[in-house]
Symmetry: C2
Subunit: 349 residues, 2 copies
C-alpha cells in the first residue's frame, strides 16, 4: 500500500442498508478522490457480489481492498460484550486496522454503542485526552453547528468538557474553514451563574481556556438559529438535543405533509411548492454533512446514521481525507499541549 | 368575597405585553366563566386605564378586584433578590394572595425565575413534597405531553423525580381526562441499564412506584411523536427540551416561509396551502394550552410565556378553575400518601 494514500476502512456490514449502501459509497468515493484507498470490511462473498454490480476501472480497483470479517454486531447487542466477544466482526476488525496503523480512519453505520466502546478499547485515546466525545454536525438556520458530546460520557467531568471545546474548535476551524469558531456552553440561561453543578464549574474554565473563542452560555432555543459553531455539553444532554432535533423535525415535516393533503386546494398548492420545499428540506438534512467523528482517538472513527444511504457514507469517507490532510490529531496534540505520544501513528501524519 | 368562586390573582404587569394582554385575558375569562373571581395585581392606574377600554357588565365587575402593586420585577433581575427586595411588586403581592388563602391561584407571564423562587419561598410546598416542578404541556403529533420538570431543580435527586412522575400523572389524568397517563423517563436509550447516574437510580424507583403507569425510558426522539403523556427529567434536561422545541419549530417554520418566497410558482402555491398550513401550525402552537403549572405548592401558580397574548393567559386562568374543582392538590396528598397538612388551604378545597 503506497504511503501517499489516505486509507479508510469502511464497515460493509454496518447499518440498515448494508452491504449495498456502504459498498456503493466506497465505489463512488474511490471514483471521486484519487488520494483515497478503501478497505471494505465484512463478509467477503457479499461484498464481492455487491461490487460485481459496478464497472470499476482498474486504477480504482487497485485502491480497493477487502478484509473478510465473518461476524456482525447487531444494533441491540450490549456494546462492550459485543466488542469483546465478536473478534471476527466488521467493527472490531475495522477498528483494529486503525489501531495497527494499516488504516487512518474507520467509517461505520453500525451500532453506535459498539463503535464508541470499540473506539476507546481498541483504538485508544491520544495520550492526555480524558474521554473521546462523539461530535455530530447539526443543521441550523445558518451554518451547521458541531455538538460535542453525544457519545458515552453521560456523567462528564468539567475538565472533559474543556477538552471537548478545544477539540471541537480545532475540528470546525479545519473542516469547515470557519476562522474563529464561536464556542458555547449549553445551559439554561445566558448568565454565568446559571446552570447545574457541572455547567457552573465548567463556565470559568472555558472562560480561562486559551485558544478558543468562548462566547458564553447558549440556551437550547438558540442552537437551531445558528448562534454558535461549537456547542459543548455532557453526552446525556447532547443525546437529548440530537434525538429531539431528529424527532421534532420529522414530526413537523409529517404534519405539514398531512396538512397539505387535507383539501383539493392544498393539494394543488403542494404541487406548486414542492421544488422549493424540497430544497429547504435538503438543506436541513443531517445526512449531507457526513458522519459524526469520535474525537481524540489515536486515529479517526466516524459514525454515520444507522439508516445511512451511500451519499452519507461517501461524505463520511471524504471527511476522513480532509481530517488526515489537515493533521487534526497533530493539531490536538500541539494546541492542547498534550504529551507527544511515542507512537508516530497517533498524529495520523 | 363569596366562597363559591374560584379566585385567581392575575399579574397585570407580567410579560412583554402587559398590562394590555393580562387585563384583556381577565375580562374575557370573567365573561366566559361565571364561577371565576379575578384579582388584577399591578399599578392600579394602568389597570384602570386598560379596563376603561371595555364595557364590562356589572355582574362581571363584581367578580373583579384590583390590588395595587407599585413595583415590577424585570425579567433580568436575579430572582431571589427580586422576591426579597421588591415586596410591593405584582409577583410578590400576587403570590402572597395565594399564601394567605385570599386567592386559589396566581397566573403570571412575568419573570420565570422570580415566579419559581417566589412560589417556593412565599407560597410554600405541600408538606411532604420535596421540590415543586414547573410542568409545561408540549404539542406532539398526537395529544400534548406534560414535561416535568422545567423549573429550578437542575440537580434533582431520584426521589424528587418520582414525585414529579406522581404529580404529573395525577395532573394529566384530571386536566386532560386521559385515563391512565403513560409516564416515561427521559433517557438516552430504551433499555433499563442505559443512562447517567440519576436515571439509572430513578428507573427502578419508578418501576416500583404504585399508582402510575410507568412505560419505561423514552428517547427525546419519541417525545414529539407522542409516545408518552408525562415525561420526567431533571430541570436542566427539561429546560433543554422545552427551549429546543420552541427554537427548532420556529427555525423550521421560518425556513419553510423563506422557501415559499423563492419563486413565483412557490408564492402562488403558498397562497393555496395557507389555510391548511395555518391550521396545522395552530395545532402545534404551545400557547393554546395555557400556562405551565408549578406543582406541589400550597395553592397553584401558573407561568405563561413572556410574550403571552390574552388567549394564552385566559386559558391559564381557566386552567386554574379546573385545577381547583378537581381538587388536584387534595389528590396529591391522598394518592401520594403525603401528610395531611394542618392548614386547610393547602388542599385548595
Amino acid at each position: 500500500m503506497a504511503k501517499k494514500y489516505v486509507r479508510v476502512a469502511v464497515d460493509a456490514m454496518g447499518g440498515d442498508l448494508a452491504p449495498a449502501e456502504p459498498v456503493k459509497a466506497a465505489v463512488q468515493a474511490l471514483e471521486r478522490r484519487k488520494s483515497l484507498h478503501v478497505t471494505l470490511v465484512g463478509k467477503e462473498e457479499l461484498i464481492r457480489e455487491e461490487l460485481s454490480g459496478y464497472e470499476i476501472p482498474e486504477e480504482q480497483m487497485e485502491r480497493l481492498e477487502i478484509l473478510n470479517a465473518r461476524e456482525v454486531i447487531e444494533m441491540s447487542e450490549p456494546p462492550v460484550n459485543a466488542i469483546r466477544r465478536k473478534k471476527d466482526s466488521s467493527i472490531v476488525k475495522g477498528l483494529r486496522l486503525v489501531k495497527e496503523g494499516t488504516c487512518d480512519a474507520f467509517v461505520t453505520a453500525g451500532s453506535t454503542g459498539a463503535t464508541l466502546a470499540g473506539g476507546q478499547l481498541l483504538v485508544g485515546r491520544i495520550r492526555g485526552i480524558e474521554r473521546p466525545p462523539l461530535a455530530p454536525l447539526l443543521p441550523t438556520a445558518k451554518t451547521p453547528v458541531l455538538l460535542v458530546d453525544c457519545g458515552a460520557n453521560v456523567d462528564a467531568r468539567p475538565s472533559q468538557l474543556v477538552q471537548f471545546a478545544q477539540m471541537g474548535s480545532i475540528y470546525m476551524k479545519n473542516m469547515t474553514g470557519i476562522e474563529n469558531p464561536r464556542v458555547a456552553l449549553v445551559n439554561i440561561g445566558a448568565e454565568e451563574e446559571k446552570g447545574n453543578a457541572l455547567t457552573k464549574e465548567v463556565y470559568p474554565l472555558l472562560q480561562a481556556c486559551e485558544g478558543i473563542n468562548f462566547i458564553g452560555n447558549i440556551e437550547a432555543r438558540e442552537i437551531p438559529a445558528g448562534a454558535a459553531d461549537v456547542v459543548v455539553c455532557d453526552a446525556f444532554v447532547g443525546n437529548v438535543i440530537l434525538k429531539l432535533y431528529e424527532g421534532l423535525a420529522s414530526t413537523l415535516i409529517h404534519k405539514i405533509k398531512d396538512a397539505l393533503m387535507t383539501s383539493l386546494r392544498s393539494k394543488l398548492g403542494a404541487l406548486m411548492i414542492k421544488p422549493a420545499l424540497k430544497g429547504m428540506l435538503k438543506e436541513f438534512d443531517i445526512s449531507s454533512y457526513g458522519g459524526a467523528p469520535m474525537l481524540g482517538l489515536r486515529g479517526l472513527v466516524v459514525k454515520t446514521h444507522g439508516n445511512s444511504e451511500a451519499v452519507e457514507i461517501r461524505n463520511a469517507i471524504e471527511q476522513c481525507i480532509l481530517f488526515k490532510k489537515k493533521n487534526i490529531n497533530g493539531q490536538f496534540v500541539e494546541e492542547m499541549g498534550l504529551d507527544k505520544p511515542k507512537d508516530k501513528k497517533t498524529e495520523m501524519s
